[in-house]
Symmetry: C2
């Protein structure tokens, strides 16, 4: 009990009161309130997160303060975000239950969301930064993406059901605004939130902010984020939103969920695998095994996603998009060709968002530990510069890449920059 | 009083009670209730519409029965549609007050919407079918389109304001479903609602329903209608939704309003000008003056729209899309080039929707009087076949047309088919 006593602060007391007051949560923890211990485990930028353990089991409780956790009260943010996270968990879990933790309870008044605690899992980014590989990750991530995106799209949902969902998530304005500002805008301006490896990348950042072709390409991607309502996105699918164990994957932190372009989720995930790839090389000890795995994972996430998504479209086309009744008999082959064209376009969109995400993680407010834990700033800057070079190419010329194999070949080539 | 007595039925009594109960409406009519007369003036497919006149003035009252007016109670439809029409009037009038009648009152319980009565105006389609031309129409329609579309888009609105509006209109599901079914789907299937000039066009309709390339092109347009949230559309901008006088234009019947692709409104309007063009030739008396004016109008609607929209974007870019702060100094020229690229893409989208709209008005449930008043079925079939030929080309190969001049040249060429 000593450890738990030491962390009991006013927030924790309130938290345990809350759990004790909800029979379904109290039952899951088991025993009596005094047997429960809570610890803050959040390392995200936005919320406070507690693991609470009792004799029978554990739960994870997220508390949304009325501001951005990483910035403090000077950056206010609506605590209503837990409602969107809760609904996204419900919807995504309906379609991908193996990869989405069970939402157990939401308290709209206190802005508390309680979800299944993922035993034995760690934050993927933390594992990656420590040099780990996850051989089963790509296959599972591809399935998660295919199921959550396909089944919330107009290819699977009747238009009325999709419109009802889209209407709800359309009001997740404050969280979307963060993306609109931080991914697509601020980094190209002399904004006070921007940070980068200075002075090593000062010239690169100056060049970036004067790169009209890149700024136009990213503005087009922003326009797509603002106007496309293709599927219910996770909305922030980086490796810090993914819990992993040796055999399983759990996707968390859905507070940025919105209807948007599918390539935003896909591109964000690929971006963070590539960030880990470029960062791996700059650490003191060589990580070629991890690097090889990361590129294999990039290729497999896309290729498996594409295969799953195509299969789902063939077998579960219950939506209003591309009515199957119009493409029977000899026209079936034409619809199949259209599916492949659709996925080619989605790959292009994915690469664009991938490039934009890499760039804002080198220059923006939310720099990932993959980079920031590289203590040698010269090596860090080299890694970041390589990532920027690939990212610029992806954002401005995504159609130069036809396949995921092209993408990882370009990553290898970029990784070789300045190594001779 | 004899005429008004003869039309007083239970609905009218209720209607006048309603008006008498709303001081703002009673005041506008003036005098006492017994001095008011009402007559049904609706000729649309969806609602009942009454003009009510009193000593001081007139109002227009729309009543939404819980079914489609043209089909009767066998086709139920939510009467909530008046709420969407009311909000669309409010939003569009904010940006284009000269072309949108003033909404005066909405009664959500009785599903009654009262708007300004447009004195001295007639339904444009009725005028067109009688051979009229409207020399000031194109300039005004272009301005209406530029203002309503630009100012409700992410180019003008902060993302939060746009998301709030989009969330509201996302629930206009039942009306959108009508478009999803009738414009993009039913006409390609042996659906009981389909009608066409038979037997003359039987083979054409059969060919159309087996035309895989066309069906794919239209399915792609449907996908765009389902997933694009670019601007607040009128949603049904045909010539029956437009009131005209010699000098002015008033756009009515906003019950299909939704966030969607801008090309849907633009394409629908061009489609109905082209329908009038093809129909004009088939009437007993030659209408070459009207035909020449119609093609000029097609060209001017697009060209003026493009010019206005570009100007608005240059001068009123208050939205989150394409942040002007990113494109200052030397980058301004690149942003200007991007505006032109954007409008090129919008022209392509417009032509696609234009083609789809023409086709569904030849083969579908809602055939316009432009065609149906042509009593000679051979001449009617010829006119419709020419319209279909152009429409197929627009839907399947919109990028073959670079300018509105290309479009009207193609219309002239199609119009010559089978005339030798």
């Amino acid at each position: 009990m000593t450890t738990s006593v030491s962390v009991i602060e006013p927030d924790i007391t309130k938290l345990l009161d809350h759990l004790a007051g909800q029979p379904v949560l109290a039952h899951r923890l088991g025993g009596a309130r005094h047997q429960w211990s809570a610890r803050e485990i959040g390392d995200g930028n936005v919320n406070l997160v507690y693991a609470v353990r009792g004799p029978a089991g554990a739960v994870c409780v997220k508390q949304a303060p009325p501001y951005v956790r990483a910035a403090g009260p000077s950056w206010p943010l609506t605590p209503e975000r837990v409602l969107f996270e809760h609904r996204a968990l419900v919807e995504h879990r309906r379609h991908a239950p193996r990869y989405v933790p069970e939402p157990l309870h939401v308290d709209p008044a206190e802005h508390l969301l309680t979800v299944e605690y993922l035993e034995g899992h760690t934050v993927m980014r933390v594992g990656l930064a420590a040099g780990a590989s996850y051989p089963h990750f790509a296959e599972q991530a591809a399935r998660y993406l295919a199921h959550t995106l396909f089944f919330t799209s107009d290819l699977a949902l009747p238009a009325g059901d999709k419109r009802e969902l889209a209407s709800f998530f359309e009001t997740n304005t404050a969280m979307c605004q963060i993306m609109e500002d931080m991914v697509f805008t601020e980094i190209f301006l002399p904004h006070p939130r921007n940070r980068w490896t200075s002075p090593e990348l000062d010239k690169d950042v100056k060049a970036l902010q004067g790169d009209t072709e890149l700024k136009l390409a990213v503005a087009r991607l922003k326009q797509r984020y603002l106007t496309s309502r293709a599927a219910l996105l996770h909305g922030d699918l980086h490796t810090g939103s993914i819990m992993v164990s040796a055999s399983s994957v759990g996707v968390i932190d859905q507070e940025f969920a919105c209807y948007g372009p599918m390539g935003f989720d896909l591109g964000t995930l690929l971006a963070h695998l590539l960030i880990a790839y470029f960062a791996a090389d700059a650490h003191a000890t060589a990580r070629s095994t991890q690097q090889n795995w990361l590129l294999t994972a990039v290729e497999q996430v896309w290729d498996d996603f594409r295969a799953h998504f195509t299969d789902l479209w063939r077998d579960h086309a219950g939506g209003d998009g591309y009515p199957p009744a119009l493409f029977t008999g000899a026209a079936e082959a034409a619809l199949e060709a259209e599916r492949q064209r659709y996925l080619d376009d989605l790959f292009t969109e994915t690469l664009g968002f991938c490039g934009a995400e890499i760039i804002r993680r080198v220059v923006g407010f939310a720099r990932p530990i993959d980079f920031t834990t590289i203590t040698d700033s010269t090596r860090r800057a080299h890694a970041e510069r390589r990532a920027l070079a690939l990212a610029r190419s992806l954002a401005t010329a995504p159609t130069d890449y036809r396949t995921a194999a092209d993408l990882i070949a370009a990553a290898r080539a970029a990784e070789g920059i300045q190594r001779g």
